[in-house]
């Protein structure tokens, strides 16, 4: 398999940000009330991720090591601003639905995580494919969770009524805040089982590096993250 396809496979399946690495949980919980929102959020994150990987990789020899985090943040924040304006212009209803979560892509762990752990060390083209793979993996994850919540919570799929309300009573709680936690909890539990099965087979999955696990040592964002344990030294 050539290395570009390998990057795509890595992002979508092997190190899927939502299911395997468990990164970017704030948007995962917040915007997945429907499949369309999940897809929109995923794709906008993908665009930012590809462009930020591209720029950071291109400038990796210019940016001094000491100020790399502020530099990355400026790059990512500029891209997010551009994406936000494009969305407001061309998909105003989606932009209104996602609201404050679009600018908050800036603090999504996946983006700075990939910048720090991949784009800052690799040439431009592989970095772009890494961003594309990770972004599509994230989109896939968000859309799946969105589909589950939308079907259970409203009997709809991408806004179309697929389960007839004659016999199906929507479980409204799934499209509300608690449903997000519940679906994610079940997902984490299922992934725990899968993880165990794969380990028994001798093909262990990549361990989750996100905030959910509390395992911060392996997180790409460790130099500026919010919930780091090794700095807190209290637990």
């Amino acid at each position: 398999m050539n290395k570009y396809l390998e990057r795509l496979y890595n992002g979508i399946i092997k190190e899927n940000p939502t299911f395997v690495l468990m990164l970017g949980m704030c948007p995962t919980l917040a915007v997945t009330t429907g499949a369309m929102n999940g897809l929109g959020m995923g794709l906008s994150t993908t665009v930012v991720l590809i462009l930020s990987n591209l720029l950071i990789s291109a400038f990796r020899k210019v940016i001094p090591n000491g100020v790399r985090m502020p530099a990355y943040i400026v790059i990512v924040a500029s891209l997010v601003t551009v994406v936000e304006f494009v969305m407001k212009a061309y998909t105003p209803s989606l932009a209104a639905q996602l609201g404050v979560y679009i600018p908050l892509i800036v603090v999504n762990c996946i983006i700075l995580g990939r910048a720090e752990s991949y784009a800052s060390k690799n040439p431009v083209l592989p970095s772009v494919f890494d961003g594309l793979g990770m972004g599509l993996g994230f989109t896939f994850g968000l859309t799946c969770i969105g589909i589950i919540r939308e079907i259970l919570g409203a009997g709809q799929l991408f806004g179309y009524q697929v389960l007839s309300l004659d016999w199906f009573t929507p479980i409204t709680i799934f499209v509300m805040a608690p449903g997000a936690f519940l679906v994610l909890a079940v997902l984490v539990a299922i992934m725990n089982i899968v993880r165990e099965k794969m380990e028994a087979k001798g093909k262990p999955l990549a361990s989750p590096s996100g905030c959910l696990t509390g395992d911060c040592a392996s997180c790409g964002q460790s130099s500026l993250c919010t919930g780091r344990k090794d700095t807190a030294k209290t637990e």
Binding site: M25, T81, A185, C211, T234
Partner: protein, 191 residues
């Protein structure tokens, strides 16, 4: 005064920042194993968000609006917040060592907490003036404090429970968060 109070209650309880807006999930799940740690984190968040919403409101009103550069808000806010946290940490260390002792370790953890940026952006979107922005920031942070402290209390209790194996760890914490979120939905008729 009445509007301020309504905004405060709304941000702290009804639209709780963690349980209904999903901001600050990372520290909420990561630093909620012990009540004292959780309270410390909550205190630091109150401190930083209140100052950050004040400073970002000032910058928005007196720098970005007059120069017609509101579109730079995301970039400016995130940099200001990152710098601000560093300053607050240095200032506390030098001037109020006792407060630094209790909050200091948590301060660097808050730099890119999405709740801080989220509050700053919400203040701008809802066109709050400076005072309202600060009240909204403070109340949001109090909501975070309430949520993380309750979560830590519950986690201390369920630690020795007999939980099915796949649900141990993060999954049961998310289930707890789900139940807390349902409980907080009970406030939604208040305003």
């Amino acid at each position: 005064m009445k509007t301020l109070l309504l905004i405060a209650i709304g941000s702290a309880i009804v639209n709780n920042v963690v349980l209904s807006q999903f901001l600050g999930i990372c520290p909420f799940l990561g630093v909620s194993k012990k009540t004292e740690t959780a309270a410390g984190m909550g205190g630091a968040v109150i401190f930083v968000i209140t100052i950050a919403s004040f400073v970002t409101s000032l910058i928005y009103k007196f720098i970005l609006t007059p120069t017609d550069t509101q579109y730079l808000q995301t970039i400016v806010f995130i940099l200001v917040i990152a710098a601000l946290v560093q300053f607050v940490e240095m200032f506390l260390k030098k001037s109020i060592p006792s407060l630094y002792q209790s909050l200091g370790v948590y301060l660097p953890l808050i730099t890119t907490n999405c709740a801080v940026l989220g509050v700053a952006l919400t203040n701008v979107t809802k066109e709050y003036d400076i005072l309202t922005g600060v009240v909204n920031g403070f109340a949001t942070a109090v909501g975070f404090f309430i949520a993380i402290t309750i979560m830590a209390g519950v986690r201390e209790k369920i630690e020795y429970n007999d939980i099915p194996k796949p649900f141990q760890g993060t999954a049961i914490v998310l289930i707890t968060a789900c139940l807390m979120s349902i409980a907080f939905m009970g406030f939604s008729g208040m305003i």
